[in-house]
């Protein structure tokens, strides 16, 4: 079968993944072989998906393909890859290929657990996500793909079942996902009406997306309360997946750290994004443009914006308390998901306004959400891979036990620095560009809904919290002083830095991150094709309003041109200033000498007087929540009586 259309390409990708799952199960005895097969399968299927997505976005929109129909049972597998699906396909394909390459070496040393439970599940998990973002069936195939994703995800999260907390996390994930599935399907059942025959003579079944969309206007007039209830259920269902307040903290921060690190990267970078996909698809693409006035867009928009704002603040504030690297990243994922929901809320709110420029701003907000989805997928996957590399090298996620790793793991540390800058919104990096797009849309939109300016201000405030968070993450692991643990490990003959199969995915993600940061205009231009190639529902209004001329080349501008950001010029000035600073520092011809830090002259450096990550920002944590005394150093880590109190010998100068 030659994939002549994007839909066949995606179907083929899913088939390849499923077949690959069987093959990796058969070859699970040979770890490396199974790993390479899984990588090959994901690379092949990923390339197919990327080809499909590229052909949709770059050439012309395709048509939905019905692969098979079981009329008597009332369901058919109808796939449709439009621009919106394409963006998510690109994200899934990119991250899954890299995670598979990373897995080969990561799983090599986990000898106590077989890979027979790992690679097949990984492949089916990715296949399910491909299906979920391209199926048009809101009931049966939604259920099948969702369950496939949930159950394989469950198996992957409880991959190391000997730890009771992993089992608990996996069970909680399973039940929350089942709840989300049920709630979403109930919503679909409420608004599904009858089958419909297209002008082309094709019969669309009752639960098909287009059939539901076709009957929605009548239902909206007859039973508005029913429609509202259905959309509320969609919001809850996809909100659970995305980790929106108050559902996020129930499952997300437990599940992400329990899974093996490449899976955490996929869970956080990609899987929770199916939640925002669902929200966008149902709230914008499902509602026909003809009922824009009847559908309570403004109310839904404000609800989403408020939920997003609460989510981003609470998620990030809770992350500040965490002392386990992957748990901290998981909480910050909740925070970043808040930005996506906020942007979608801004889009819906502004769409309802009749003022000029507002549809253009709504389109900008939606593109900002998509841009942030891609950016977050890239840098959060990268951060989880970084945390995984550190876990792989040291065997711990505890920030208190780590320190000074940059010396021993320069590639992991360097990529982690860039990813931290990106997520914290440092200018010139990718997170700043996408947040910039969201902020400008929200603040300019205050003319339509004044409260949006407050939401944007809280988002800006939260981004300084994110900065604090990643100063803690990066500073505690890679800077600070070498801890006892790292010191002991560094004495082993083999280097701490991970092998090339784990370094390469990190470097590729780094390159993607830098590109998106320096050329945001190109990214937005590319993403605006999304709206042009998926003209359906309210997205038609957005597509017509896309400000075509404002994202030319490298610069970002907001509709109406009141805001502008040209990263290349700022970068040029910045680099020149760096050279100037370097020249200034070398003017005096000062000599350099390496020496030990000064501890008031009477103490020697040791584990007990090392500043531990748990103490960072104590007063801020107290200000944000209830007071908690800082955790004392566990007795086991203190030296036994009779032994010298400083396990680390006094710091000896070493040429770096």
């Amino acid at each position: 079968m030659i994939p002549s259309t994007p839909e066949y390409a995606v179907a083929l990708a899913m088939l390849i993944c499923t077949a690959g799952a069987a093959v990796t199960l058969a070859t699970a005895r040979h770890r490396a072989l199974a790993g390479w097969i899984a990588f090959g399968v994901l690379a092949l299927s990923g390339l197919l998906a990327l080809l499909g997505a590229a052909s949709v976005l770059l050439t012309e929109p395709s048509h939905a393909e019905t692969l098979f129909t079981a009329r008597r049972l009332g369901f058919s597998l109808r796939l449709y890859v439009d621009g919106l699906s394409a963006v998510f396909l690109i994200l899934i394909a990119t991250v899954s290929i890299l995670a598979a390459l990373y897995s080969i070496e990561y799983m090599q040393h986990r000898l106590e657990h077989g890979v027979g439970r790992y690679y097949p599940n990984l492949l089916l998990f990715v296949a399910a996500m491909y299906g979920l973002v391209s199926t048009t069936d809101m009931m049966y195939f939604f259920f099948i793909f969702w369950q496939m994703m949930t159950l394989t995800g469950y198996a992957l999260i409880r991959y190391e079942p000997r730890k009771p907390e992993n089992l608990r996390a996996a069970n909680r994930y399973l039940w929350m996902m089942q709840l989300a599935c049920g709630v979403t399907m109930l919503g679909a059942a409420l608004i599904a009406h009858d089958s419909v025959v297209t002008p082309g003579g094709e019969t669309l079944l009752r639960f098909d997306f287009d059939a539901v969309s076709h009957h929605l206007p009548q239902l909206l007039i007859d039973q508005p309360a029913r429609v509202t209830l259905a959309f509320a259920l969609f919001l809850v269902g996809f909100g659970i997946k995305l980790g929106v307040w108050p559902f996020g903290r129930i499952w997300l921060p437990d599940a992400h750290p329990a899974a093996p690190s490449p899976i955490s990267a996929l869970l956080s970078g990609v899987m929770i994004k199916t939640g925002i996909y669902g929200l966008m698809r149902y709230f914008i693409w499902l509602v026909p443009g003809s009922v824009q006035a009847e559908f309570p867009l403004m109310k839904w928009g404000l609800v989403l914006a408020a939920l997003g704002t609460v989510t981003l603040f609470t998620g990030t504030a809770q992350a500040l308390r965490q002392e386990q690297s992957k748990r901290l990243l998981a909480y910050s994922s909740i925070g970043q998901a808040g930005y996506l929901v906020l942007a979608l809320g801004v889009c819906l709110t502004l769409l309802s306004s009749t003022q000029p420029l507002m549809p253009a701003l709504a389109a900008t907000a939606l593109l900002g959400a998509l841009f942030h989805t891609l950016n977050h997928g890239v840098f959060k996957s990268l951060l989880f891979l970084n945390a995984g590399s550190v876990l792989h090298a040291t065997g711990t996620q505890d920030l208190n036990k780590l320190g000074g790793m940059l010396r021993y793991m320069p590639v992991t540390g360097g990529t982690a620095l860039v990813a931290s800058c990106a997520i914290a919104g440092v200018p010139l990096f990718s997170g700043f560009a996408s947040k910039w797009t969201i902020y400008t849309a929200a603040i300019q939109g205050h003319a339509a809904a004044p409260i949006l300016a407050l939401c944007a201000a809280i988002a800006i405030l939260t981004s300084t919290l994110t900065l604090a968070l990643f100063i803690k993450f990066f500073g505690a692991i890679f800077l600070s002083r070498t801890s006892v643990l790292v010191h002991d490990l560094s004495r082993r003959p083999q280097p701490l830095e991970v092998g090339w199969k784990m370094r390469l995915p990190q470097v590729i993600l780094l390159a993607l991150c830098l590109f998106a940061g320096l050329f945001p205009g190109l990214m937005l231009q590319f993403l605006s094709r999304v709206l042009q190639t998926s003209r359906q529902g309210l997205a038609v209004t957005l597509a017509d309003a896309v400000p075509a001329s404002v994202w030319t080349g490298p610069s970002l501008q907001s509709p109406g041109h009141p805001a502008v950001y040209v990263p290349l010029i700022v970068a040029l000035v910045f680099v020149l200033m760096c050279f100037f600073a370097r020249w200034l520092a070398s003017l005096g011809g000062a000599t350099r000498r390496i020496s030990a830090p000064w501890l008031c002259g009477y103490a020697v450096e040791g584990e007990l007087n090392r500043y531990r990550a748990g103490h960072l920002f104590d007063d801020l944590k107290n200000c944000l929540g209830r007071k908690r005394p800082p955790a004392p150093v566990p007795l086991t880590e203190r030296s036994a009586p009779g032994q010298p109190s400083n396990p680390i010998p006094p710091w000896s100068p070493e040429k770096n």
């Binding site: 300016a453 100063i471 800077l479 070498t482 680099v575 104590d618």
Partner: protein, 306 residues
């Protein structure tokens, strides 16, 4: 022609900051000394200090001296890039390449570089100082951000030249939001400039200059220089946002008036700093958090047109 003009403007801004920042620092030190019945150093002393530091031996105590070097270079570069965004008597040179959101984030990034320097040296005291600096940053930077956003909301624009022009008072009705945010920013000005009573992250008498404790020689010179430059930049920003009157006078007059106003801000800051004692970090954070809430209220007022 226009590009050449902008490049010249950027050079002028950077030169102004480089030359005037130590001089303002000198005024600050002299005035503090006078208020405390001391003689005080001559006004040009900070220049001599910087020159001396540039030639002194550079002790590197971090585990990765390369990170320490990079952090100091980036720190000064960030401050000077910010200087190209803020109009300093002339128009803003980078008006076409960035807006106020970039400005807000760049100002934060200036502090982040100092933090990285502290974390990279990694002594217990510099870690403590860095931790304090982050806590102040998280509660303080949003206040300035909200002040700028209020201007942006009033003007409906994010352009540097439009917002940094007394925009907080540019509301349709009586500018309540502008007055509220003026009070809030005045009350937090000492903290933006890291002067007493809010010099908690550095606190020489407690934690020995915090993040900068392990630095000497040219690196300390660059870090000190960035701090002095921040004094000028924040004062300039304050003048643009809250005391805009007379900014559009003809060249020498408007220019002189701007720098006189900046001098006035520095003098006020100095007088407050010289006569107050330091707050504890937990007191300061609660104080900033309260101010931040008031600032958010002002933003809501602004978005409703007041």
């Amino acid at each position: 022609m226009k590009t050449a003009f902008l490049i010249a403007g950027a050079f002028a801004n950077v030169l102004l900051v480089l030359l005037l920042a130590p001089w303002f620092e000198g005024i600050l030190r002299k005035l503090t000394a006078q208020l405390q019945s001391r003689q005080g150093p001559p006004l040009r002393q900070p220049f001599f200090d910087l020159l001396k530091l540039l030639g002194k031996e550079d002790l590197e105590t971090g585990e990765m001296p390369a990170v320490q070097r990079a952090a100091t270079y980036l720190g000064l570069a960030a401050v000077l890039t910010t200087a190209c965004l803020i109009p300093l008597g002339f128009g803003s040179p980078l008006n076409g390449a960035g807006d106020v959101i970039l400005l807000i984030y760049l100002l934060t990034f200036c502090s982040v570089c100092t933090l990285m320097a502290g974390l990279a040296s990694g002594s217990t005291f510099s870690m403590l100082g860095s931790s304090r600096e982050v806590m102040c940053l998280v509660t303080l930077e949003p206040i300035l951000a909200v002040a700028i956003l209020i201007g942006a909301v009033h003007r409906g624009s994010f352009r540097l030249d439009t917002v940094l022009d007394g925009s907080v008072y540019a509301s349709a009705a009586f500018p309540w939001s502008g007055l509220v945010i003026l009070v809030v920013v005045v009350l937090s000005m000492q903290a933006f400039l890291q002067r007493l009573p809010f010099d908690i992250p550095a606190a020489e008498t407690e934690i020995m200059d915090g993040a900068l404790m392990e630095y000497s020689g040219p690196k300390l010179a660059l870090l000190k220089f960035s701090q002095m430059a921040k004094l000028v930049l924040y004062s300039g920003l304050f003048v643009h946002l809250f005391v805009p009157w007379g900014a559009h006078l003809a060249f020498p007059l408007g220019w002189l008036l701007f720098w006189l106003k900046v001098l006035g801000v520095v003098l006020v800051v100095t007088v407050i700093a010289a006569t107050h004692a330091r707050y504890r970090i937990d007191q300061a954070i609660r104080y900033f958090a309260g101010l931040l809430l008031v600032a958010l209220v002002a933003l809501v007022l602004a978005s409703y047109g007041y």
